[in-house]
């Protein structure tokens, strides 16, 4: 996961950057950064299965362990929780670390259904967890299999909850409770008996869940998925970065298309909104586009009824009528209303049209309403 690059900074406290060596590569990072920031900046990747930059380091999955040299002694530390120090030397992929990660992944494999579902289940196959399993060549069955967690038979239309794929990283409960502060889900039980649970009765529609979808977007295994994207192979989709069509926050979204058709939305983690969305942006930003009720051709009122027309007919009629009205009663007998929903470029053209082609300043938009 990429670390958010703040677009602006507090005027207070700009201290000297730190210089580190990661696998022999020199890198400079801001003061108060973690070791993980240094290795990401140097272009090295370690699995971070419990990490979401928005809630900060938890240090529970132990996958991001690295070796650091401190006072001539080598220590193994979690790179997400450990603060970077000046002149620190960091090793990310020693043989011992690679073996260690492989064993950890095999332990996680022993508690999930993923071995059975890999790789035919696409959501799982696309996950951070599965990528790590492949990278470190971890084998399902290397450690005796444990009893599975139970999927939640939750009828809500948005979030699929296959907890048999859960590795108990708690990213979903962290983002729900610490970032969204919705308090919809929690951890019930301990150890292998731990299970994600929602109030009340484990049905999200009855819980304080706002369906912001952040649990889906942070889940590293595919245990939580977007029901609207169910059955769609991520390998066959394309993503287009754009902006959510709702309120003025302007969250970044990625529209997901398959064969030129919209099939869903994902958050854009590179945008200033840092991957956050609400229920509208996450689950309501594309179906209206595909509605059968969309206007598909121009209409002209004939004999009191709107009827299909060609573009030439429609636009000529618009031009003719506006010319006629302006000629008879002057340009101020017309008004133009722009839109808070269309791109700025179109609004610019409409105001220019009113002022230049018609000759009136009667141009307004709905910022009042």
């Amino acid at each position: 996961m990429t670390t958010f690059q703040s677009t602006g900074t507090s005027p207070a406290g700009t201290t000297k950057p730190l210089n580190l060596q990661v696998n022999g590569v020199g890198v400079a990072i801001p003061a108060n950064s973690r070791v993980l920031d240094a290795l990401q900046k140097a272009g090295f990747d370690v699995p971070t299965l419990c990490y979401d930059e928005r809630v900060g380091p938890k240090g529970t999955c132990r996958m991001c362990l690295v070796e650091v040299e401190v006072n001539g002694r080598t220590e193994t530390v979690a790179s997400c929780t450990t603060f970077a120090e000046e002149n620190q030397k960091v090793e990310t992929h020693t043989e011992a670390l690679n073996d260690y990660r492989k064993t950890l992944l095999e332990m996680l494999l022993s508690e999930t259904s993923a071995p059975k579902k890999f790789p035919e289940d696409d959501n799982t196959a696309h996950s951070e967890f599965y990528k790590a399993v492949q990278e470190y060549d971890a084998k399902a069955g290397a450690i005796p299999l444990l009893e599975r967690r139970k999927p939640a038979p939750d009828p809500n239309p948005f979030i699929q909850r296959d907890y048999d794929l859960c590795i108990a990283c708690y990213r979903c409960t962290n983002i729900c409770n610490e970032w969204e502060q919705a308090g919809a889900i929690t951890v019930d039980g301990r150890g292998q008996d731990s299970q994600i649970f929602s109030f009340f009765g484990n049905n999200l529609l009855d819980s304080p869940c706002t369906f912001c979808g952040q649990c889906i977007n942070t889940c590293p295994t595919g245990a939580l998925t977007d029901r609207k994207l169910a059955g769609i192979d991520p390998h066959e989709t394309e993503q287009t970065k754009t902006i959510c069509p709702y309120c003025g926050v302007g969250c970044g979204i990625e529209l997901v298309t398959k064969d030129g058709e919209l099939v869903g939305t994902k958050p854009d983690f590179d945008a200033p909104s840092r991957g956050s969305l609400c229920v509208k942006g996450q689950f309501a930003s594309w179906e209206f586009v595909k509605s059968e009720q969309r206007l598909k051709y121009p209409l002209i009122r004939k004999d009191g009824v709107l009827q299909r027309a060609s573009w030439d007919e429609a636009l000529d009629l618009v031009a003719t009528n506006f010319k006629k009205i302006v000629a008879e009663d002057g340009p101020d007998s017309t008004v133009f209303w722009a839109s808070a929903r269309v791109v700025t470029e179109a609004n610019y053209l409409l105001q220019k049209f009113a002022r230049v082609a018609i000759g009136t300043n009667n141009i307004d938009n709905c910022s009042r309403t």
Binding site: T7, N156, F158, D206, T210, F211, E238, T240, T242, I243, C244, C247, G248, V249, G250, C251, L255, D270, A271, C278, V279, K280, A284, R294, L295, K296, I300, R301, L315, V318, N321, I325, P331, D332, S333, V335, F336, W337, A338, S339, A340, V342, V343, T344, A346, N347, Y348, L350, Q351, F353, A354, R355, N361, I363, D364, N365, C366, S367, R368, T369
Partner: protein, 563 residues
């Protein structure tokens, strides 16, 4: 916004007023919650007990339309207790003496009476806000502006921002949260009766001359008329031709019957939209446009950040992008434009608008958007305004504003206040959220939120079908009992116009300066409808309004036993 969304997480204190942030701007509310987690104080001033009050250190429940007496009294305390930033006031503002005298008319005890609150709340807000400044942010939205005194409401907040030196302070400022994806961009582009692109006043001759030279045409000198005035002029026959792009005026504007009557009175109406909306049904010509997902261009968000919009799919049938349609129309009017793409349109605009001059598509494609003002291509954009000086180049003027009650106050015939707004899972007139699968499980239909004590007095039960009437119209709606509404005030959104066209009822008053309609207050009467809709009762039985937890009956019983 004077400041930026991300900064709010670093504020010392956030005063949220007239903004139901967790529902209307959920992702901005995350930064507010973050600030609270980091130790900031949160104060919510709002007639409705909205979800955000759960995070608040203090919730002040003022009566609808009493913002000015409240904030004048807050200013009174800040001045009389000498809690204001004297240096800032003397170097960056004007009119302080007159303002200080003016707010003596609003002693806390007097205002507390008007607002219906405890006087201690006023002292608390004044002292905490001043103590946390600079670096205390005020956030507001339409709960402040959609009043007949809306622009004065805004000024009463601006006064506080100046007193405490928060204009130009990191994580401070006075921040309107914009309600629609590109309402900022529509203003930036010059789609305003008084301004050319980039908020340049068209009544200034040098400005007009610059645009005349660039556009190669003489420009009209007189400012134009607003939408509200235009509708009156249609009815009088003075406005004959109307061009509406992407707006469902008939449903979204107040006193909907009036808007409909106006458009029917106009001789020739063109509507360019993606659906055959209620407004498009009144048109003589309907032009099918591309949606956001099919459009190339930019939106500007609430924090003045210009971001790229990119097409993911092709428009359906013969529908075309708005830019393309308008360029075609220019040709047919005999004013061909040497522009072919949104990128070229943007370039023409930015070169004429100094605040946008440094923003190019190239830069936008490489980064995370750019916040104006951005005068040159090597300028990083502006995170917060008024940093070293007021951006207008003039000092900040204190505005001695007075309390103006809503244009329509409750009386014997219409004894209840109706206020309107949004809910989290529905949006505006419902043309988008109404077409998303599953959303009927979150909010199935329009609901009138009524305080349970009022409901008991009026003998209304949850799910009853009500007839709500004002002097302008009447609608049927389902009753929803909730503590979110204060006694004597009810709340509705306007996202289900097919069965409940809320704006048939709302007020036709508007702000005397900006002509923003008074959506937030009108007087209504509430009766049980003759014909009940049992489906509504069933559909909403399990609906949770934001911030409410519906405990299962079994748990509730257990809790009562414990009590």
């Amino acid at each position: 916004m004077t400041n930026s969304i991300e900064e709010l997480a670093d504020s010392n204190l956030i005063l949220v007023t007239g903004s139901n942030t967790t529902e209307a701007h959920p992702v901005i509310s995350l930064r507010m919650k973050r600030a609270v987690s980091k130790g900031a104080k949160l104060i919510v001033v709002d007639p409705r007990k909205i979800e955000l009050t759960k995070w608040a250190d203090r919730y002040v429940q003022i009566k609808v339309g009493t913002d000015i007496p409240f904030y004048n009294a807050v200013a009174n305390v800040i001045i009389n207790e000498k809690l204001y930033d004297e240096r800032y006031v003397s170097t960056r503002t004007e009119g302080f003496e007159a303002f200080a005298t003016h707010v003596q008319n609003y002693p806390p005890e007097y205002s507390a009476e008007i607002c219906g609150i405890d006087v201690e709340d006023i002292y608390y807000v004044a002292r905490e806000y001043a103590k946390a400044s600079p670096g205390a942010a005020i956030c507001y939205t339409l709960g402040i502006t959609e009043h007949s005194c809306g622009s004065h409401n805004v000024q009463s907040l601006g006064n506080l921002g100046m007193l405490s030196g928060n204009f130009g302070a990191y994580a401070g400022g006075v921040n309107p949260l914009r309600g629609q994806n590109n309402v900022q961009g529509a203003g930036d582009s010059g789609a305003i009766p008084t301004d050319l692109p980039g908020y340049q006043k068209l009544e200034k001759p040098p400005i007009r001359e610059k645009f005349e030279a660039a556009w190669g045409a003489p420009l009209p000198k007189r400012r134009g008329i607003t939408k509200i005035t235009a509708m009156d002029q249609m009815i009088r026959g003075n406005v004959r031709g109307v061009f509406v792009m992407g707006e469902n005026t008939v449903v979204s504007d107040p006193h909907a019957n009036h808007a409909e009557h106006a458009l029917k009175s106009a001789e020739f109406v063109v509507v360019q939209d993606i659906f055959l909306t209620d407004t498009a049904r009144l048109a003589d010509v309907v032009l099918p446009a591309a949606s956001f997902a099919e459009s190339d261009g930019t939106f500007a968000n609430s924090e003045r950040r210009v971001q790229r919009v990119r097409p993911a799919v092709k428009p359906p049938g013969e529908a075309r992008q708005d830019v393309d349609i308008l360029l075609d129309l220019f040709n047919r009017m005999g004013y061909p434009q040497q522009l072919e793409s949104p990128a070229e349109v943007w370039d023409e605009m930015r070169k004429l608008a100094p605040i946008l001059a440094g923003i190019t598509y190239d830069r936008l494609d490489k980064g995370q958007g750019i916040q104006w003002p951005c005068p040159t291509e090597d300028h990083p954009g502006t995170q917060y305004l008024h940093r070293d000086d007021m951006d207008s180049g003039m000092p900040g003027f204190f505005a001695p504003v007075d309390h103006v009650p809503p244009a329509e106050e409750p009386d014997d015939e219409y004894p209840v206040v109706l206020t309107t707004g949004r809910r989290r899972s529905t949006y505006h007139t419902g043309t988008q959220t109404g077409r998303a699968s599953g959303f009927d499980l979150l909010v199935p239909h329009e609901m009138c939120e009524i305080n349970p004590s009022d409901a008991e007095a009026w003998e209304i039960e949850d799910g009853d079908t009500l007839q709500i009437s004002s002097r302008r119209g009447s609608v049927t709606v389902s009753a929803k009992l909730t503590e979110r509404s204060p006694s004597g005030t009810v709340f509705m959104s306007f996202a289900f116009p097919e069965l409940t066209r809320t704006n048939d009822v709302t007020s036709d008053a508007y702000d005397f300066i900006t002509e923003t309609p008074e959506f937030k207050a009108c007087a209504v009467k509430i009766e049980k409808a003759a014909e009940q809709n049992p489906e509504w009762r069933t559909a909403q039985a399990k609906i949770r309004l934001a911030g409410e937890i519906v405990m299962p009956t079994k748990l509730k019983e257990q809790q009562q036993t414990c009590d």
